[in-house]
Subunit: 250 residues, 6 copies
């Protein structure tokens, strides 16, 4: 039995609040159960050196947790003077995922900085970050469009992420909370688009393995999960709905 009597294919309660803080061009607070992440999208009027003079933009992401977002306090990465491998992996993942649904040619020589700051963690922070970051990026692009800085919406599709896993009893489940995540034999994060394509699949057995059947079951759970999330993103983004192509299935 899952905590709170959740079904194996049932998402936690998800809320997506736009305009959460006042300064960023796009600002979102996403909660997935007890996981809470602030996703801010900022526009910088230049691109990193390797992208200069190409007439196109860039999207990059940073991810962090407040020291006490978790059950025991973590040392602040700024105090340690370096970013952990886990943090780097997550921020690279978020950036790659977003770039798959943004037409960089349409944003001009600008960088969209996406900051995902976990206020409270209870499993699934990286997938919540991607799901929330997408909304923040749409929000920021909408701001640019409203100001006439860009001519058309550079978003090519919806984007959401969810975790799936295999528990010690061999069962696959959707949207693991921390208590489950810490016991799971297999942990998989899946990023998909509104038209049902994969952007990223990262499946890992830590001191364990998984077979092709388990893989297929996990992919199916993820597909069900992201479809439900696209609906919530749509609701949160209704202000910009007319600028977004209709690619959410179902």
């Amino acid at each position: 039995m899952r905590p709170n009597e959740r079904e194996v294919d049932q998402l936690r309660k998800i809320t997506i609040e736009t305009g959460y803080t006042k300064h960023p061009e796009g600002s979102v607070l996403i909660t997935v159960g007890d996981t809470k992440v602030i996703c801010n999208a900022s526009i910088e009027e230049r691109v990193p050196p390797f992208m200069r003079n190409k007439g196109k933009g860039w999207i990059t992401a940073e991810y962090a947790m407040l020291p006490r977002a978790t059950d025991t306090r973590n040392i602040r990465e700024s105090s340690k003077g370096k970013v952990s491998g886990r943090t780097m992996e997550i921020q690279r993942l978020i950036g790659r995922a977003l770039r798959a649904v943004v037409d960089l040619d349409k944003i001009g020589e600008r960088t969209i900085w996406v900051d995902c700051d976990v206020i409270q963690a209870d499993g699934g922070t990286r997938t919540a970050s991607i799901t929330g970051a997408f909304v923040a990026v749409v929000h920021a692009c909408g701001t640019l469009l409203d100001k006439g800085v860009i001519k058309e919406m550079p978003i090519t599709d919806y984007l959401a992420a969810i975790s799936v896993g295999v528990m010690p009893d061999g069962n696959e489940i959707l949207d693991l909370e921390y208590q489950e995540d810490s016991k799971a034999h297999v942990d998989m994060n899946i990023v998909m688009t509104g038209s049902g394509e994969f952007v990223e699949i990262q499946g890992t057995g830590e001191e364990a393995t998984f077979n092709p059947t388990q893989l297929q079951n996990m992919l199916q759970l993820a597909d069900k999960g992201v479809k439900e999330i696209f609906g919530m993103q749509k609701d949160a983004l209704q202000q910009w709905a007319s600028h977004l192509e209709e690619k959410v299935e179902g």
Copy 2:
């Protein structure tokens, strides 16, 4: 005329929410106008090396801003690999201030880590951090007391901080918001106790100076401001009121 027609001796609207996140022993969201800071207090069951085997505890603070807490995005200090001088100054100030009203002998060989994370900045983040951190620390100590870990409340007095300043027109004002702070000739942060004593006075003229009369006027404004704040802290802390000595003036 001040923004929003505030009087020279008028505070911005302040709210103090306890129990803001679920993991920390003490967790507070403080808002002072548009400045929003999460203040978390965590208990660690050991003290830093220089305090070992003295039978007493320690309080230390860390301060950070989300990259887009401000109008333009700041580079994350974890990415830069070092903490700025400004950040260090502020976290040293917060720690010193709290230690003035906590009886370290009564918390045993434990460290109270206070994390002040600015979600949104509009001036006065360091004083809001101190004011909120005090409430988080009382909350955390209350948690220890409830669990029987400590025998009596180690808090010796209320503690709050506020900024005052001298504007280009020579007038002194209370509780500067960013728009005022950026123009002020003199910027002073004052930390006081419920019994009306000073804990810290930091007054600075950047490319300017101030005279003894202006100093006295600023001290008076600060005194008025912190007295109002003590009332709000008292409301937020009513659950632990019986454990706190009654030292708030007026």
Copy 3:
């Protein structure tokens, strides 16, 4: 048409040389086409702090490239003073993959350090590293067994990795060399065991996506590839064959 007229499901020429350098307990030079990696496994008689006093061991991996392993010289990470996100991702992947087939209880409170140093790079350095590192770890464990330090071989299965991808023409191919990798729309690294289970699947569309059919085709190519590699590992490890369970399929 692929470079060197390779078939879409054809591996590059692979060689695995054991005993490559004299100091390490296990030392391997693996070449996959023009990609050359030295994989050394070293035994340290202690475990990292988080593993102490559990009576079991640990495996950790480090990965680096010589500055001129690639077409243009990269700045040495020791000169930069920090390890890149890409390097961290790869070394975490190698470590996790190896831990899936080593029974950490059987190696006692020891750490196996695996160093994968790329001498020459031409695509697929992370998968070549895993494939070579597995052989180095078996070699090192065999050394421990021969010295009587451990009682039985802690290896539970064969382990190999290979890359697959989707090219701009939509076709899936096996074992991408650099020239292909730099153009591919989708890049997937797959780590499998001798008994046909997945250890890790990392599929990424950089500014692109992939559909379920393409995923299945890539998984099939990878399955074919790793089966051929297991045969080569077996040949390279014949000295320890009697200590290894026979789990290589086909």
Copy 4:
């Protein structure tokens, strides 16, 4: 009774030697009792990025102690690879203080670097640094003036700093030496101008507080102290006296 039978309002013996080393544009050795600080002012023919193209200059300060300036040896900050919070606080203070009495418009697009290196420490190193640095900066500006690089002296007033404190017996004293500083309940550093204005007030109760009367007493002691110091600065600077406006009170 104070060490060496000093009165509560008595300064230690102060000497200010100009031209201490040969390379800097301005070089001073200041001794305050057993505290010895070399203050060097160097002219750089450019300003930091945030000051460029404004037609005005900048002053910045760095502060350090020789490892064995104190009773027990401190680890060198260059070996630790980072500057402590205390050091940062002090060098920001020195820079701010100097900028209050230098007309940055008159030095052109130049940076004055002030290096305060403590050779021997016995309390009051930061205030001695400010007092000595002021003399070094006048010396350096005099050098520029003599060479015709600048047209007029950019110094608008005298500047000196002194510490005051409250001892455990509740008495306020002037110019604390280390033995006193380490016991004081309140430590306050005050920077003032020749015309009697405040530039900076930093008063701190470490695990203690102070009341308004104690504050006033400390301010009065400081006022007496800096007035005596201005006289010594004047003597040391007689070479440039004609270029300095006469603003020293009393």
Copy 5:
């Protein structure tokens, strides 16, 4: 008696293989007994800031060891985040030595980066690095010449290095292997040119000293050693022999 019955003035077996890896302009694997070093020379089309706009080039070297090049594993310098003093000393030495025999005017505004990566260490890694790096640099310059990038060979003389030492019995020996090096009272590294001049002499007694007679004996052994090495370099470089002035003695 020396290991392997070597005479006091006998070199270990030396091999020099050019074209060892495919990407660098010059690539060499040098083995001196069990010491193996990859020396790669890379051409960068710019010079460091302090050399700009002088119409001449620069040569700089970097040196590293694989973590398990030695008997016990060393922590990777990239993980430590800083380069050790020993490494810095060696790479400065290699760079200086090479610059003594390369006419920087003739290579134009280019940097030759020399990377010496020790695959296996058994004493004498810094001298083997210099000897191998010289061959790699000639190889790289030959590549530039063949492509018409430079007009004439910038190499002014042969260059090789060897170690000599004084053993605890007071005897001087040539080309110390690790087992000897770790016991030697005096360790001296000598870099010489084909025409018999010294480029660098670094003689060190660690907790010991040496007298003028021992110095002369060591110099003589080194002279004999480098002359033999010049012959091997000549063989390895025969492809570029016509471009090299004939300066090898004997």
Copy 6:
């Protein structure tokens, strides 16, 4: 002609002042012409990890220059966050040199930290540091002896260092000042003991070479120079003369 009409074999004016600052166990100010170095020796009651439980001591040195010790200001190494290769080379050299004349068994499990801080630089800072550091170490050991902490003086011989070089005209000179050093073709630093043995020889031709005759001439100049310096050290150390074996030649 040399600056100030010095003869080729003539030292600059040297002064050695003991007891320069009050805290260190040994404190020296050495001046060699316009080069001024503070050499402090501190006793720490423990040894570094690699020396523990051997019943003997250790000597280690650190070297730094004030930012404006030179003609143009250098960036402080603590601000850069890392120590330069040059600094590391020099501090390793000073430490090695001192260890050659101190019997580490006789100082017990203690570390002597030697800090050489260059106040003013005019060439020869590393040799002045060694010469001054020796006196500071004798001073510190004398302090230990006086306190009864150690039983006998652990110094086995006098130690001094001097530079020699070859000028563009081919002439060898003794004790180069900056103006000479910056032009010299060959720069050699020699460390010798009172009994005329070599401790360290470091001779370098930067973009130049030197022949055996020049080497012999430089060695002779150095021998003359250090003998004169030993006399000055003897004078400075007369307080401890009875504890020092008489090994100064001539």
